[in-house]
């Protein structure tokens, strides 16, 4: 069965999502354990595969229907996507545990079973995007994930959530269509949909890189994925979507969705077009992405400072964080990529914990106003501690996860002679520090006369995932293995150091 782990990791959550409407009809109590169990299995599977890949040093391949790869569809797990898989599955598991109580509160009774099912399908979609070795299969799972995300967002209690979901749908569909166009252009040129096959064709004949359709394909992939990952000028859908979504949705989507798209971009760059496309084929694209991601890195946190709504604040901060991940691709050296790759995990952990806190705030007060955080430190010390740690990680305080990504990105930037990236990173840290500090000050040092809106600590089912995510921020920041993994992954991508 271990040989089938790649497919089982995707299929078990998917199956659970399919069965849920049936089983939920019989007994509503089974829904939550089923979700947790399925995602627990997915987490186990993805970590198992990651360990496997890391110890053997070889990617796992799986082909469906027994067809050889370009003919049929296949899966491929290497270090990079093994990490992303583990991240998604882990975030999914923690979210599913966490959402027990908030879902009861925020999702109407009769829709809750469906909500869980949609959530599981969304997880399966994200996992499928990450693991696949076929670009069209990527599109299919992208759509599963997108459709479910739209609805997960629109399930927020307020009417703004509906409009946010709708905007995301429209913009996301344009993005998906662009990706589809990119796939079409690639298919036209190579006649194949298997990533490895396309890559080998490009490697065999680098003159393909100068063809206009190949370039157009890349441009459309970039724009399409940039929309999906909310890279700076195309991030318009994101703030409202995160703000008005129900807490479990925003927790899961914020900690995984944009990063999955970013990962897809990594995969397109390194697994489909090949490194040489970025270095020799169309180096200008690096400049463009560099500008976009730098702008994101600075402006995201800058805009976040002014926000009065915690979720919106976090959304803008995500805009900045995705810039870090994209920066890794631009730098194209081991250090830079290491920084970009560990940021997948680091950001998932930090953003996840922050959205746990935001969810706790919503759970206790019904809204996510920053001002309602005042005095939370006294009443909900655990949650506040998580907030503090994750906030520090966002800033990049040493010994937290966020520090390492920035450190490696800066190292990569100097190596690639993009010196100006360093001040950009610093500026972003400063802006981040400002909003984080603003929040922390409210939490711990509110004026005496303020009566805390958060009256008590959240239930354990919400506290444990939050603590786990907060602890992850510290563990990733203190232990070398995540960096080692990321570095091996970066080396495996074939960049020169």
């Amino acid at each position: 069965m271990v040989a089938h782990l790649p497919v089982l990791t995707i299929m078990i959550p998917l199956f659970a999502g399919l069965f849920m409407p049936l089983l939920g009809r019989l007994n509503r109590a089974i829904v939550w354990p089923l979700a947790v169990g399925a995602l627990g299995f997915a987490t186990f599977g993805s970590i198992h595969m990651l360990v496997d890949v890391a110890t053997t040093g070889e990617a796992i391949h799986y082909s469906f229907g027994g067809w050889a790869l370009p003919t049929g569809i296949g899966y491929r797990v290497d270090l990079l996507n093994g990490m992303v898989l583990a991240m998604i599955a882990g975030a999914g598991l923690l979210t599913s545990i966490w959402m027990l109580r908030p879902a009861q509160k925020e999702i109407p009774d009769e829709g809750r079973t469906s909500y869980y099912a949609v959530f599981l399908l969304c997880c399966a979609g994200f996992l499928g995007i990450t693991i696949t070795a076929d670009i069209f299969n990527l599109y299919v799972f992208l759509e599963i994930a997108s459709i479910t995300s739209y609805v997960l967002i629109a399930m927020g209690g307020r009417r703004q959530a509906l409009y946010a979901g709708y905007s995301y749908l429209i913009v996301g569909s344009i993005g998906a269509t662009f990706i589809l166009l990119g796939i079409g252009h690639l298919y036209m040129r190579t006649g194949s949909l298997g990533m490895a096959d396309i890559l080998s064709q490009f490697q065999a004949d680098t003159s393909l890189y100068t063809l206009s359709d190949v370039r157009t394909a890349f441009a459309f992939f970039t724009v399409g994925l940039a929309i999906k990952m909310a890279l700076f000028p195309l991030h318009g859908w994101q703030p409202s979507a995160y703000t008005y979504a129900p807490s479990p949705s925003s927790l899961f989507i914020a900690s995984t969705s944009t990063k999955v798209s970013a990962y897809a971009f990594y995969r397109i760059c390194f697994g489909v077009f090949g490194l040489a496309f970025l270095t020799d084929g169309l180096p200008e694209i690096r400049q463009i992405v560099l500008v976009m991601s730098s702008a994101a890195i600075v402006l995201g946190p800058l805009i976040a400072i002014r926000q009065g709504d915690l979720k919106r604040l976090l959304a803008y901060s995500s805009v900045g964080q995705i810039g870090y991940i994209m920066l890794g691709v631009v730098l194209l050296n081991v250090d830079g990529l290491t920084g970009g790759i560990i940021h997948f995990w680091n950001h998932a952990a930090a953003k996840g914990s922050l959205f746990c806190v935001a969810g706790a705030l919503v759970f206790r007060t019904g809204s996510s106003r920053v001002s309602d955080l005042a005095g939370m430190g006294r009443r909900a010390p655990w949650t506040s501690a998580v907030l503090t740690v994750a906030g520090c990680s966002m800033v990049g305080v040493p010994m937290t996860a966020g520090f390492l990504s920035k450190w490696y990105l800066a190292a990569g930037a100097l190596e690639a002679d993009y010196v100006f990236v360093v001040p950009v990173l610093i500026a972003s840290s400063v802006f981040t520090a400002i909003y984080v500090w603003r929040v922390l000050q409210l939490v711990w040092f509110a004026p005496k006369d303020v009566e805390p809106a958060v009256t008590s600590e959240v239930p354990w089912s919400m506290r444990i995932p939050a603590l786990a995510l907060g602890a992850a921020c510290l563990v990733f920041g203190l232990t070398p293995w995540s960096v080692d993994l990321a570095r091996s992954a970066a080396v495996a991508l074939g960049v020169g150091s």
Partner: protein, 130 residues
């Protein structure tokens, strides 16, 4: 100039798919009515289908259904784009359905499906809260 024209002529399928796609894209971007956007989205998607099917064309080909006694000179069309587009059509209708469901809820919540009015209402809400 002549080059350009002859190029366009020889690729006129592609020119038309671009045209259709732009019509759709324009509708999605410029129209304020939520349903109109969905209509635009449909046009946009079908334009992409056209692109794919054009890729798999073989001049003088026949449908990719196996045929005993097929003359050698008649090739089968490339079946793969067809398969891909079947999937894409399904995805398209799913998105349309979800979008419509959202629009229905939006109408119920806001009383309008015009983007401008919705945003105005949102802003009024925001002012009311602060």
């Amino acid at each position: 100039m002549l080059d350009v024209l002859s190029h366009l002529w020889s690729h006129y399928h592609y020119v038309f798919y671009i045209l259709l796609m732009l019509i759709g894209l324009y509708a999605v971007l410029a129209k304020g009515n939520l349903v109109k956007k969905v209509i635009g989205l449909n046009v946009l998607q079908t334009a992409v289908f056209l692109f794919y099917i054009s890729i798999g064309r073989k001049a003088g080909g026949t449908a990719p259904v196996l045929w005993e006694g097929k003359p050698e000179t008649v090739p089968y069309e490339n079946p793969l784009p067809h398969v891909l587009m079947l999937t894409a059509i399904v995805v398209g209708v799913s998105i349309t359905a979800v979008a419509l469901a959202l629009i229905i809820r939006i109408k119920r919540g806001y009383g309008t499906i015009e983007e401008g009015e919705i945003l105005a209402l949102d802003e009024a809400d925001a002012r009311g809260e602060s």
